[in-house]
């Protein structure tokens, strides 16, 4: 018994002694800052980046005032907030200026226990600027550092992709691996290093096909064959690069995968944001987020001893992250029927970086999870695309120079990496959205990346197969369902050639899962081309099945002596003005004296001057004035009297039918500016005058006539005030397809009859002395009773898509609970001539000539507002338009006059907003009711009468398309 009891006592005691109790780890690091984004010294920080500082301990929320962001003009007006378990402070959406240097200052009061706060700024960073510049472009950063010391910010290793940042966007047509453009030379052999070159805007990435040799000097040359969007050559630069030896005697394979719920790792985010979530925030679509899905990535770790501490790592190209899809809704509320399906993010180049000790601690401080987590630096170039074909067409894009920074903590047997990144994601082809994401990966040797065994597929092209109106200066978009091997394409796997088989010089650009075959020089009009896909493979080597060539034709451009004119201008109206007074810039010259006076014009600081023409201008006639009163295109600062103070420094980008001017500095609110297009005094094309493609001077008073005889005349002069930046989304939508390619006002043989943009006129009767009238133009609606003559419409429309709003007044008097307001400025549509015969005592045959339909501003000025509303689950645009209709060239015999001058018309247009297979936004509207058009003719001897016409309901069609997402070299 004694023994038994003793045993029990002993065992019980033993059990008691064995009770577990955890012992917290030693904390040898000082409390304080553990992470920041951006990191100190970071350049090219995207606007819209979340700015965050994370501390080891909770911050004093009452002292948020000591968290200050200093910009060029002093403290930034932004409200910090405490996030991330009380240990992080962020500016979620600080209004950053492009290309500016900021300092983040953190006072001790915010983190009383912090021991590592500097006396000066905690972080200094510079924001991205992708604005074109008047000055010659320069190379401003190599791998995140100064070109003179390219390894200072981000060391270069054997497998590093070389990432360049330029001072302004580079014309992608010039970014090629040739002497004078981009060269990477092995100095030991003086041979060029084969590399894949990607370009997008200000970024160029050079990914050597084979890893470089450590210790070998490489010479990076960028030369003056690179030009900016204004055609200015680059200031050449030579950068010496010597990769560090990160591999030593071994590389170590590792597998990373996205961390999921219940996976080991830290409980709370270090970055103060939801992990593995891509957050997009833009008024156009509201706030959207996409969650990363389980995926594994193969990684290579360098030799841990090779760098004496930091460990380099590489994620080879071709690997992918997956994320949940987006259901795109305008303003976050109005579905546009566009679901992306799963979103994929593929590494287009070798991504990589390093693990290194926390820079906020002493150099000899060992890593500790709580106060001194490891830092991670990751740079990558990615393709973003989607599973859904249409969603892919809209979304797919290449994003270069993504800089992720984060922390890595070792926990429960895994290294958990939480990296913060920011990028600008192109959105619906019309804007870029700040996109912040937190990528959390953990090591998992058991994870296996899924092999890619699916061959690529062709999803869409622009132009589509058989199209006959491809603009001659646009590239051909070839959209696949996944990124493809650019090197193969550039080696002849994809080529553009004429029908006769003559190769066309092109560059092939990466746009995510799409490529653009961009001709070096504009294509010829009236010519058939084809894109041949002979060797298209994805990164894994899966080959595109045999695919027929994509054949298309450029439009026929018939010579014309009709002058070129402006169909749209932003800011302003497309006509020379007269009748200005103290409160109005006037009305269109050539119109009626009682025409509406326009309201003053303004241009938000974040928008550009854009001009659309009725014909292709003669390139040589486009000369931007660099001093007051010089050039055919003048953008000037003026005083109150309209006197030029100075030409605005900036970049004028010319395309086939448009001009875009981007000032070096944003427009200053309340400052006076003027855009002037010079037409000359006659039809001849002399220096300093803007002319059409046949050498006829422009005419900017189309109400006075659009024929050759009316060429020259008053300049188009639009004075405007700078205004505060706006959050709305601007796009210059074009009528497309359109018929009047040469802008003559007539339908010439070979010009495509575009049913999407036309108004079908129908004669309903006559009155007075006009006994009868009929169209002599072909019946354009043979399936409809009677004869309809079509006026084919050409024009462009500056559109501002605003933020979603409520209680929207609709044209029919009702209201919608919510809508996206769409503001259209008072531009003009040009309609082709129709022919008719009327009996006014005698038979009269006449052509209307070009008809001009000017949009009238509503009372109070400003543009016309339409509303995109949700109708039956689809977005629908409704807008009421009041127009002036003019037929300035219509001439009746025997002194007969007509009243098609500033003839007021009113109609409601309604139609869906949709996406084309190539991703462009299409607004396709038509009149909701018959539109009566009554033409009164008055002849001599008191004779006269009316010709009653109408545009039947639904027969005035207008299709406005957003610019091609990728095809235009911006």
């Amino acid at each position: 018994m004694v023994v038994r009891i003793a045993c029990r006592v002993v065992i019980a005691a033993a059990l008691l002694c064995g009770c577990d109790s955890s012992t917290p780890p030693l904390a040898t690091a000082e409390p304080g800052v553990v992470f920041t984004f951006p990191v100190d010294g970071q350049r090219d920080v995207p606007l819209g980046s979340r700015i965050v500082v994370t501390f080891s301990d909770e911050v004093a929320s009452s002292a948020l005032g000591s968290f200050t962001l200093m910009g060029p003009a002093g403290p930034v007006d932004a409200m910090p907030e405490v996030v991330g378990n009380g240990k992080s402070v962020q500016f979620a959406a600080a209004p950053l200026e492009e290309g500016a240097t900021y300092q983040l200052i953190v006072g001790q009061a915010l983190a009383p226990t912090a021991k590592n706060l500097p006396s000066g700024p905690l972080v200094t960073f510079t924001t991205r600027t992708a604005r074109p510049r008047a000055a010659a472009p320069t190379l401003v950063a190599v791998n995140g550092g100064e070109p003179q010391s390219p390894a200072a910010f981000r060391p270069m290793y054997e497998s590093s992709t070389i990432r360049l940042v330029f001072s302004e966007p580079i014309d992608p047509r010039t970014v090629t691996a040739v002497t004078g453009a981009v060269e990477l030379i092995d100095t030991s052999t003086r041979m060029a290093v084969p590399a894949t070159i990607l370009a997008s805007g200000i970024h160029v990435s050079i990914d050597p096909k084979l890893d470089l040799r450590a210790g070998t000097a490489y010479e990076l040359r960028v030369g003056n064959r690179l030009v900016d969007l204004g055609g200015q050559p680059l200031t050449p630069a030579v950068v010496m690069l010597t990769p560090s030896n990160s591999r030593g005697t071994q590389t170590i394979p590792q597998v990373l995968r996205t961390r999921q719920a219940n996976d080991p790792g830290p409980e709370h985010s270090r970055a103060g944001a939801e992990r593995n979530v891509i957050a997009i925030d833009k008024p156009l679509i509201g706030k959207e987020s996409s969650t990363l899905l389980p995926v594994a990535l193969d990684a290579e770790l360098g030799d841990p001893k090779a760098l004496g501490g930091p460990i380099a790592f590489t994620l080879r190209k071709g690997q992918r992250l997956r994320a949940t899809g987006l259901d795109v809704k305008l303003g976050g509320e109005i579905s546009v029927g566009l679901e992306t399906g799963e979103i994929l993010i593929e590494l287009l180049t070798d991504a990589g970086g390093r693990l290194y000790r926390n820079p906020h601690q002493a150099a000899d401080q060992r890593p500790e999870n709580a106060r001194a987590p490891l830092y991670v630096d990751l740079s990558m170039d990615v393709a973003v695309y989607a599973v859904d074909p249409k969603g892919n067409a809209v979304l797919t894009q290449t994003v270069l120079g993504v800089q992720a920074s984060g922390t890595a903590v070792s926990s429960e047997g895994v290294l958990a990496i939480e990296a913060v990144a920011s990028m600008e994601l192109g959105l619906l082809g019309v804007t870029a959205a700040p996109t912040n994401f937190v990528l959390e990966l953990i090591t998992d040797p058991a994870a296996k990346p899924a092999p890619d065994i699916t061959p690529p597929a062709l999803v869409a092209t622009m132009p589509s197969l058989g199209a006959n109106e491809h603009p001659v200066d646009e590239g051909v978009e070839v959209i696949f369902n996944e990124p493809v091997d650019l090197d193969k394409l550039r080696a002849g796997g994809l080529r553009l050639e004429t029908n006769a088989g003559t190769a066309v010089a092109t560059v092939i650009e990466s746009h995510g899962a799409a490529v653009v075959v961009r001709p070096i020089a504009p294509l010829a009009y009236s010519t058939s081309y084809r894109v041949v896909l002979s060797d298209v493979v994805d990164a894994a080597g899966n080959k595109l099945p045999a695919t027929n060539p994509i054949a298309f034709t450029t439009p026929r451009l018939v010579n014309t002596d009709a002058p070129i004119t402006v169909t749209a201008i932003h800011p302003g109206v497309p006509c020379a003005l007269t009748g200005a007074n103290g409160s109005s810039p006037g009305r269109c010259q050539g119109g009626q004296s009682n025409d509406d006076l326009y309201d003053s014009f303004t241009l938000p600081a974040n928008e550009m001057v854009q001009i659309a023409f009725s014909q292709p201008p003669q390139p040589s006639s486009i000369v931007r004035g660099i001093a007051c009163n010089q050039g055919s295109v003048r953008i000037e600062e003026i005083d109150g009297a309209g006197t030029c103070i100075a030409a605005i420094a900036g970049t004028l980008m010319t395309h086939n039918r448009t001009l875009t001017f981007v000032p070096d500095k944003p427009w200053v609110p309340a400052k006076r500016y003027r855009v002037r297009l010079v037409s000359g005094t006659n039809s001849g094309c002399t220096a300093g005058e803007l002319c059409n493609f046949t050498g006829v001077a422009a005419s900017f008073d189309p109400l006075g006539g659009t024929t050759n005889g009316e060429a020259g005349g008053p300049d188009l002069s639009i004075a405007f005030l700078g205004a505060e930046p706006v959050k709305s989304t601007f796009l210059l939508a074009d009528t497309a397809p359109f018929t009047d390619v040469n802008g003559s006002g007539f339908v010439e043989s070979g010009e495509p009859l575009a049913d999407e943009n036309r108004a079908a006129l129908e004669i309903t009767g006559t009155t007075g002395d006009i006994s009868q009238a009929r169209f002599t133009s072909p019946d354009c609606l043979p399936g409809r009773t009677g004869t309809q003559a079509c006026m084919y419409l050409t024009g462009s429309m500056p559109v501002e898509m605003g933020e979603v709003t409520t209680s929207c007044p609709l044209p029919d008097g009702s209201s919608a609970a919510s809508c996206v307001p769409v503001k259209m400025s008072a531009q003009a549509m040009y309609a082709t001539s129709v022919s008719m015969n009327a009996q006014l005592v005698i038979g009269i045959d006449t052509d209307t000539g070009t008809s001009v339909m000017r949009i009238r501003e509503p009372a109070g000025g400003g543009g016309v507002t339409g509303y995109i509303v949700n109708q039956g689950g689809s977005p629908m645009l409704l807008v009421k338009l009041d127009l002036y209709m003019d037929a300035p060239d219509m001439s009746l015999p025997l002194g007969t006059s007509h009243d098609l001058h500033s003839k007021p018309l009113s109609m409601t247009l309604k139609g869906p907003v949709s996406f084309l297979p190539d991703g462009r936004i299409a607004i396709s509207v038509a009149n909701t009711a018959d539109l009566p058009v009554v033409v009164k003719a008055d002849a001599a001897l008191g004779l006269g009468g009316n010709i009653n016409m109408k545009v039947p309901a639904g027969e005035m069609k207008l299709q406005l398309l957003s610019p091609p997402l990728r095809g235009v070299a911006r």
């Binding site: 064995g18 012992t23 780890p25 001893k305 070792s410 429960e412 047997g413 090591t443």
Partner: protein, 334 residues
């Protein structure tokens, strides 16, 4: 660290421990005195010994029925006559001084790691390390046995404890713990952390124990006895001595008191007057010594990114189960 601990064995530190340990005895002694009252006056000694240590026991058998001590009655030499009320009193206390050899018959569980976090978790996990083990070194020390003969049981029962100077026990690593790196790689990266080698740590130890001894032949010249009781291993000043584990800093080591069940057998006999010689063997069973080493930091020479890492806590559980062989001389007294 495996190992741990060990040591158990222990003997009560003479000074301090004797106090607390013996502190309970007087009460028992008082009880015993009470119990003795019916037996007084003591029966006449059968032999001419100056003192008879055998008190009349509150035996089930009435004293009158057993007036004479049996032939097995224990006789002890007293150094000091004890008189009560002017009469000779039987010596109830005895001591035997000599040497004890403590030989742990140790077996260990694999060393377990706990609180593994941070970088160390990339290389090792919480839980046992396969193939690892630890053991405790043996020790030979001076020790004395202090006993008290209970006033009942016919002189056969006594309580005794062993007092001794604290001794140093060393913990040694065995198996993979000694011969292989416990963290050869982290994330597939060699760490440079080598085998620990045999040396782990040491501590001063004392295993106070108390046993109830039954004398099989209390009055014989050679008296075999057996006993049972309880022991607890107490340690102090534990420290890690492994060079690898102490290179960065000195970890904190703690050893929990480890109770055990004592089985005892021995023999003693009077060798000269009141001087006794004794040979005693004790086996302490179920003595599980648990040692913990906190904040172990090791250097990672192949991973300079870390430089060194904190491993967390190492837990060692050793069945010490020491065999204590003790020989000595002594007398009965008081």
């Amino acid at each position: 660290m495996r190992a741990a601990l060990l040591a158990l064995i222990a003997f009560v530190p003479l000074a301090a421990q004797a106090d607390s340990r013996v502190a309970g005895l007087p009460k028992k002694a008082k009880k015993a005195k009470k119990a003795k009252k019916p037996a007084e006056p003591p029966a006449p000694a059968p032999e001419a010994e100056p003192e008879i240590d055998m008190a009349p026991e509150p035996d089930p058998t009435p004293p009158a029925a057993n007036p004479m001590p049996s032939a097995d009655a224990e006789v002890a030499v007293s150094v000091e006559p004890a008189r009560v009320g002017g009469k000779k009193k039987a010596h109830r206390f005895y001591f035997r001084g000599g040497v004890a050899h403590v030989a742990p018959l140790s077996s260990s569980r694999p060393m377990e790691l706990a609180d593994v976090d941070g970088a160390a978790s990339l290389a090792v996990q919480n839980g046992p390390i396969d193939g690892s083990g630890s053991e405790v070194s043996s020790a030979t020390i001076a020790a004395i046995t202090i006993g008290y003969k209970l006033p009942f049981g016919g002189g056969r029962l006594s309580l005794e404890t062993v007092l001794g100077l604290p001794f140093t026990v060393k913990f040694r690593a065995t198996g993979t713990l000694a011969n292989e790196s416990i963290a050869p790689t982290a994330l597939g990266i060699p760490t440079g952390v080598g085998p620990l080698g045999p040396e782990l740590g040491e501590a001063k130890a004392a295993p106070p124990l108390i046993t109830l001894v039954y004398n099989l032949r209390p009055h014989a010249k050679v008296q075999p006895f057996i006993g049972a009781g309880a022991a607890v291993l107490l340690t102090f000043n534990p420290k890690v001595t492994n060079p690898m584990l102490t290179k960065i800093s000195q970890p904190e080591m703690s050893i929990a008191p480890a109770p055990g069940l004592v089985l005892q057998a021995g023999i003693e006999g009077k060798i000269y007057k009141g001087l006794y010689a004794r040979l005693d063997v004790k086996f302490i069973a179920f003595m599980l010594a648990r040692a913990e080493v906190h904040h172990i930091q090791v250097e990672t020479p192949e991973l300079p990114l870390f430089g060194n890492v904190e491993v967390g806590t190492a837990k060692m559980s050793v069945w010490v189960n020491p065999l204590i062989i003790q020989g000595g001389l002594g007398i009965d007294f008081w």
